[in-house]
């Protein structure tokens, strides 16, 4: 079940005097198995694009194909949202129920599923985000740490059994360990999902986990790349982003003649490259 977007354009406030395209002629394809990153500076249209995918924003012009949903007609939003789950920025701010189990089960309950099925889904999704059901299910979500709350929020989306998971800056605001834990979690979910789409400003995470990156700027798609292609030169810097920290360091070492090329993505590769240049095995 791929996601195909063709010539998608969107304007907020069409009647406004100063209208501005939030999206302009964007075409891209997310295939099964992709861990697809959407990157671009603030206001580049990443979130607007993501919100189209589960019908939070109604398409104005262009084509969106997800499974057999026809975005030109009135879509069954419930069915679409069961297929495409979105985890918003700071999703823990949307927790509301008295217990973790009720919060995670809220979506499935709205689907009017059988209570047994709801219970099974709640158990599965709490387990899938690396939390202990017995320990946590009866607790108030507000007693939990920030990282745990975020996991619970993700579990709530997983309980809808989506095939495509969209995450808007899933690690924003977390400490380094929390960031790493959430990225490992998302990565571990890949096998049970068709595709993961992640909006991110963290190029270190994009370099480490994603197989494709769409770079956006001012509502337009600059291009879709592999992380290695994208970070080979200073392209991202010209679009208001930073290179992954190890790549940035590699570029400086290359400029100083310490290493011959900066064709690396992570620290391990960089260390190996330096050792090679220094003839150390």
């Amino acid at each position: 079940m791929s996601v195909t977007i063709e010539n998608l354009s969107y304007i907020y406030d069409k009647k406004a005097v100063f209208k501005k395209n939030a999206l302009f002629d964007v075409s891209l394809k997310v295939e099964d198995g992709d861990f697809f990153a959407l990157v671009g500076r603030t206001g580049s249209g990443k979130s607007t694009l993501a919100m189209h995918l589960n019908g939070l924003i109604r398409k104005q012009t262009g084509v969106i194909l997800i499974d057999d949903f026809d975005f030109d007609k009135k879509i069954n939003l419930k069915a679409l949202r069961a297929k495409v789950g979105i985890v918003f920025q700071y999703p823990e701010s949307q927790l509301f129920a008295d217990t973790v189990a009720l919060d995670v089960g809220f979506g499935p309950k709205n689907l009017k599923l059988d209570p047994k099925e709801i219970d099974a889904r709640v158990r599965d999704s709490i387990g899938a985000v690396g939390l202990d059901y017995d320990e946590i299910a009866g607790k108030s979500p507000f007693e939990l740490s920030g990282g745990q709350m975020r996991r619970v929020a993700i579990a709530g989306v997983l309980a809808m059994k989506p095939e495509i998971l969209v995450l808007d800056e899933p690690t924003a605001g977390l400490d380094p360990q929390g960031k790493k834990d959430i990225m490992e979690l998302v990565s571990s979910l890949r096998s049970s999902l068709k595709a993961v789409i992640m909006i991110s400003h963290n190029m270190d995470e994009v370099a480490k986990y994603c197989n494709k990156v769409a770079l956006m700027d001012e509502g337009r798609l600059v291009g879709v790349f592999t992380p290695r292609q994208l970070f080979r030169d200073d392209t991202v810097e010209r679009y208001g982003l930073l290179l992954p920290s190890a790549v940035s360091l590699a570029h400086k070492l290359k400029a100083a003649g310490v290493i011959n090329d900066a064709d690396i993505l992570g620290e391990d590769e960089l260390v190996a490259k330096i050792l090679e240049a220094k003839n150390i095995k």
Partner: protein
């Protein structure tokens, strides 16, 4: 007299709960910049709230410019200590950006020309002057945060506390805002406490205070970031250059011990 002084401060949110801050002492001088780091839940935000009297210590004392936050002059203290929090939505009060930024100075009873000037200067500093007449609620998260920072700048505080205020900005905006903040701090001889998970940001500060479980874990200059093992053991990460230098040393390459920045590593390896 230090601008901010924590004297053996202990604070718990509820009696019987593990203290969020425990026996903490440190000082911040006028014009000094301090990076406050620690994993989530280590007490950083509690410390920020103790600085301007939003929270009052259970034991010990917090003094701002010599005045205890326990005293009656808490508004005086809040004028001196401007805090920008993590989520800008909770800090926006007006429906037009320049009104939002003017809210603080208006409450100080300043003359309208002075308010105008402060608002324009503050908005210009954060690169939002072109948006002065717009609706803050329609901005992106990063833009909103810049407006919130402008709102504090317009108050001309003695010390500015950024409580993960750049967490929602994209990397270049983050860099720009921090440059603006450091420039302002140095120009106005303001002090700064920056609470951040971004090592790059913390490396700019004169001093570093590392908290773990509400207690002081490490304190010092930037050399604190050389201690990658100690940092890793409480879930923090050392700068990339430090980690790469560590890995190279582990493989037998002789790399200078004081490599902190990318440029240091380049220099060390060029030899």
């Amino acid at each position: 007299m230090s601008l901010i002084e924590f004297d053996n401060v202990t604070f718990s949110y509820r009696a019987g709960l593990r203290p969020a801050i425990k026996n903490l002492s440190f000082t911040l001088e006028s014009g000094e910049t301090l990076a406050l780091i620690g994993h989530n839940g280590s007490g950083k935000s509690t410390l920020a709230r103790l600085c301007n009297g939003l929270l009052i210590p259970d034991k010990g004392e917090v003094r701002v410019d010599g005045q205890s936050t326990r005293g009656k002059n808490v508004f005086d203290i809040r004028r001196k200590v401007g805090v920008v929090f993590q989520n800008p939505d909770n800090q926006t009060v007006a429906t037009i950006i320049e009104d939002d930024v003017a809210f603080g100075p208006e409450n100080l009873g300043l003359k309208s020309e002075e308010i105008r000037k402060r608002v324009d200067d503050a908005l210009e500093s954060v690169g939002m002057l072109g948006y002065a007449k717009r609706d803050p609620f329609r901005l992106s998260g990063g833009q909103k945060q810049r407006v919130a920072i402008a709102g504090v700048l317009a108050l001309k505080p003695r010390v500015m506390i950024l409580d993960e205020s750049t967490a929602m900005l994209d990397p270049l905006s983050r860099r720009e805002v921090m440059e603006v903040v450091y420039d302002l701090v140095r120009k106005e001889n303001m002090s700064l406490i920056t609470i951040t998970h971004f090592t790059e940001e913390a490396l700019e500060a004169d001093k570093v205070l590392v908290l773990d479980g509400g207690e002081k874990y490490m304190e010092g200059g930037r050399e604190v970031f050389l201690k990658s093992k100690e940092l890793a053991s409480i879930g923090l990460t050392a700068p990339t250059a430090v980690r790469v230098a560590d890995a190279l040393r582990a493989k037998g390459l002789d790399v200078a011990r004081d490599v902190l920045y990318d440029e240091d590593l380049v220099k060390a390896l060029c030899r």
